[in-house]
Symmetry: C2
Subunit: 609 residues, 2 copies
């Protein structure tokens, strides 16, 4: 007990002393002095507080350069340990939740200290995030709207009348400041935040109802991430929500959420073209709403069309003569029409497994064509070993709120993230050894990522190459779903022929061949030139398979300024849509209010797709 108290007290004084030194250096405008407070191998990750960018500075030189450029505009002050969060020490690292203010807003972050060679406590990792703009706080809690307008007022406009007027006028008589193309979880979460920040916004989606992005998929689909990881901003899933929500249930939630959060959500609306008007500094976007063209003039354009980008439909010889059904996995209608049919699924990642499993359950004869190695983890193992500390019922019970979990996750620099991931996947390999043995015996080509860092790094680096096993892997392992390996050479009228001459009879061919980079949407909507100017979206520049270098330090182009003015990319899983929508919303709000947003370290473009 006494030991713990002493440790706590030392931890606090170490943190406070360090914050005091940082504060002094910042006030003195001494970027070099501030950088000297960091270890050689340090990281400062900033989410818009200093850089108006998502930016990780690696080592003292990058930190000094960043501070030189940003200190005078940021004017950070008030560094302190967050009330009620006691700093902790373990294994030589002292950790604390911190708060600070800038010239324009309020920030929070996380600091990890460790001793350098001389024994001095220096910062190893620092996360700084802006969560609120001063003077533009969200109307919450004690600042929530009153709702009723008391008193007597002959020109009273009721809530409904106001909402109806806004819905009627926005996009016609008045223009949105932000247009979000794509109304899945990403567009909805961002739309909700912008509504709270009072930024006039329209979300357009080509589908008939919010949630149809999920409803339209195969019937057995459930979320592969657990509930604790999936909350939207503002309204948490209730305590009775399933761990892995069925697709139609999450769809209903999104639809209700969009309504409750009062989004201006245009259904049956497709964005057809967009161009930037340099003189007026605004977009001209033509959308087709219920079949009628509407021209919108937003100042900011957000693509939230899915981090997966456009479907990669292969171009195999003979696709034109094949007489059966064939489609990309994203267009697969589900298994109902294929009982008793011969089905060939080209690919061996998530979609391929899910579709193979559903087809087999429906009595189809199913063959999976594995073209390259795939990483598989079992859902239960991933949940317990991969996410349990931050996103689980136990984490919640231990005081790990969703917000703290998100920041903890964000505090780990991408450069070293794989080092923390590798042991988790080693543990999974150990735990599920029998499973992997069976899988390999079936001939399935399995990998753990280029460096053994497993699923989450694959997700961040390339967004593909894995399957979270919810049951279909065993069908391959035991031969219920037939496995062949190789490349497709061509199709005939009735079959798929591989390069080694293997011929697979087929009534159905599903191309589970993945997706392109999100800037494919830019090419369609704006121009190929604009797409090239934005460059590749997603990935870290890790120089691993499908994620070419050079090193970026952050996910390419996501949630931050791009090389194309006033064009933003938003998306990712529910966790990312929730967390990063905050920073994107604040970047947009600051611009809407004319708050200076000098961007430090705007990313360069190294790849166009």
């Amino acid at each position: 007990m006494t030991d713990t108290l002493e440790q706590t007290s030392t931890a606090r004084s170490d943190i406070e002393s360090w914050l005091g030194r940082l504060d002094a250096a910042c006030r003195a405008g001494d970027a070099q002095g501030a950088a000297a407070l960091f270890t050689e191998d340090s990281f400062w990750r900033d989410l818009i507080a200093f850089t108006w960018n998502l930016k990780t500075c690696e080592g003292r030189d990058e930190i000094a350069a960043m501070l030189s450029a940003t200190l005078s505009s940021t004017q950070p002050t008030g560094w302190k340990v967050t009330d009620g969060e006691e700093p902790t020490s373990a294994e030589g690292v002292t950790e604390a939740w911190i708060e600070f203010e800038t010239a324009v807003g309020r920030g929070r972050g996380q600091l990890r200290l460790k001793a350098d060679d001389t024994g001095e406590q220096k910062a190893w990792t620092l996360l700084t995030t802006l969560y609120e703009l001063t003077g533009f706080e969200e109307p919450q809690r004690s600042a929530r709207p009153k709702g009723a307008e008391h008193g007597a007022n002959k020109s009273r406009e009721s809530w409904t009348e106001k909402r109806e007027r806004e819905a009627r006028e926005l996009g016609y008589e008045t223009q949105p400041y932000v247009l979000i193309v794509g109304g899945g979880q990403g567009g909805i979460a961002l739309g909700a935040r912008l509504r709270q920040l009072g930024v006039p916004t329209i979300v357009v989606d080509k589908r008939a109802r919010p949630g149809d992005q999920w409803r339209s998929r195969y019937k057995s689909l459930c979320l592969h991430d657990p509930v604790w990881y999936d909350h939207l901003p503002y309204i948490k899933f209730p305590d009775n929500w399933p761990v892995f929500a069925p697709k139609d249930k999450i769809a209903d939630w999104l639809e209700s959420y969009a309504k409750i959060m009062e989004l201006n959500y245009w259904t049956n609306t497709e964005a057809k073209s967009a161009s930037w008007d340099e003189a007026r500094a605004e977009w001209t976007v033509t959308v087709e709403r219920d079949g009628q063209p509407v021209v919108l003039k937003p100042k900011q354009l957000v693509l939230a069309t899915g981090m997966s980008g456009k479907p990669n439909l292969p171009d195999f010889p003979g696709m034109d003569v094949f007489t059966g059904d064939q489609h990309h996995s994203s267009a697969h209608p589900g298994p109902d029409a294929y009982a008793g049919k011969k089905c060939v699924v080209v690919g061996s990642n998530n979609s391929a497994f899910d579709i193979c499993g559903a087809l087999w359950e429906n009595g189809a004869d199913v063959t999976m064509v594995q073209r390259s190695s795939t990483h598989i983890v079992r859902s239960d193992s991933l949940m317990e070993i991969g996410l349990g500390d931050l996103y689980s019922e136990e984490a919640v019970a231990a005081g790990m709120t969703t917000e703290k979990a998100d920041l903890t996750f964000a505090s780990l620099p991408y450069r070293i993230m794989h080092l923390f991931q590798i042991p988790a996947y080693e543990a999974m390999a150990e735990r599920d050894k029998d499973f992997y043995d069976r899988l390999e015996k079936s001939g399935f080509e399995h990998d753990w990522g280029d460096d053994g860092s497993g699923l989450f790094m694959k997700y961040l680096r390339r967004g593909s190459g894995y399957y979270i096993d919810v049951g279909a892997a065993d069908l391959v392992a035991n031969g219920d779903v037939k496995l062949v390996k190789g490349q497709v050479d061509h199709l005939t009228e009735k079959s798929v022929v591989l390069e080694d001459g293997t011929e697979l009879e087929a009534d159905l061919v599903v191309y589970a061949t993945g997706y392109g980079s999100m800037n494919g949407w830019v090419a369609d909507l704006i121009s190929p030139e604009a797409a090239d100017k934005v460059g590749k979206v997603w990935g870290l520049g890790s120089d691993t398979t499908k994620d070419p270098g050079p090193w970026e330090g952050e996910q390419r182009n996501m949630w931050k300024p791009t090389q194309v003015e006033a064009l933003w990319m938003h998306g990712g899983n529910l966790h990312q849509s929730r967390h990063y929508s905050l920073y994107l919303a604040l970047q947009l709000k600051a611009r809407a209010e004319g708050i200076p947003t000098p961007v430090y370290g705007l990313q360069e473009v190294h790849h166009t797709s």
Copy 2:
């Protein structure tokens, strides 16, 4: 600091010592001994834990009698102070949150001790509530459903298929255990709890959409209770929710909630008749769903048709010759058609003021006919002085969760509740003195309740006789809305004539003349005999205006067994719908599972309407 620590420690030991003595007496089956642990002026309020009833025992004799009858079946054990809730002492009263178990479930409650003449700490008030049936816990948190069914399964039924099958079969091929008539906040909250408890339930409502109970009312209506008081079970309103939600916003919430909580909610469905089949111990209820008759056979029937009961439409001579519009306030369409028209509103309570205000805002010439004295409090004052300690942003910040607030509220015995209310209303009279002076100067007849206990007691006793002022009172005070006092004698073709001969020209007459007792619905649905057997609903038997004695100790017939088998009354404001739906749901669940539910102290019927 030391003082506080010592006080806390004494408080805890006093509570634990008392609980130990109660436990010993209960284990020994010693009802007299247990009752002797209470003060002369004590109260034990039990919500279904001991009595399977909502029952307040007043004084030792009633407590001893209750325990004699219930100890052997209840078998209470494990009395303890709730973890993390330190007992407190103030002004001679020591207070604690407690927990216990019974033969069939888990309970929580609140205990207040004070010293008797000899200085011994005895119980002054004890609240015991059952919140969970052992073996039938709700699937929440770590017990939440998994959602996805992992593995491969050829007869897999997806979540949607299961929901669709249930919706298709329930009421036709399978029968609900519970039928709830009325789908407002009461029916919805109860339906949600029963769904979580796995009790097959149908909610029927005659309107087209959940929430239409609110949507159909006049356009400026907002909740008169603040957000902290209004949460539904399971999903709280978000932090940005308005203090006083506009009617259409709360309607949208209820509609989304009913969907998200997966209620079997039949819209466009009117309950036409019901009869009890003694032999089969079930109801035969004919409902008309989308115009088609459906016969349902529920074991339990809940009327959640509104605590207000059926509209009281007066029977004034001349109503048949009056040529203008006339309707009960509940059927008032809003002011839109009445700009420039002469409008007479008969009545001076909530509906009358709301309607007068909206008509005046819309440019009508409005006269209010006050027939009897009304109690008015200003909304802001009510919120701060009346509710602030339990239901406010400050209360939330101080750790007063909704659940704790509800139990604190429930812990105060009805018999003495007015004593705690009187000072609050005295403070309001003081605070708003100018307002009341102006109001009286206008001739308005104002009261504070028979004993000065104000609005909430009027609500509990008679459910009428007050107005929460959101602005319209000033219209009366300053003469914008004309005020006349007296009784209506008759109507002519074009006017309303009072007993004193005053003639009021009218294009519109609104009868804001209140509602009958809820058992009026029983008469319509089942039979007049059944209505008389149930007796008057609502009220405490306080022997004050419109709440005749004898004293009941609880609200008549609400949320507890009635004299008609398997017939239940549910409703009230959002707070009551939330809190009491728990006890009603557990009473129904216990019966569904065949758990013995011996009812102690079934209320007698003293009034038939």
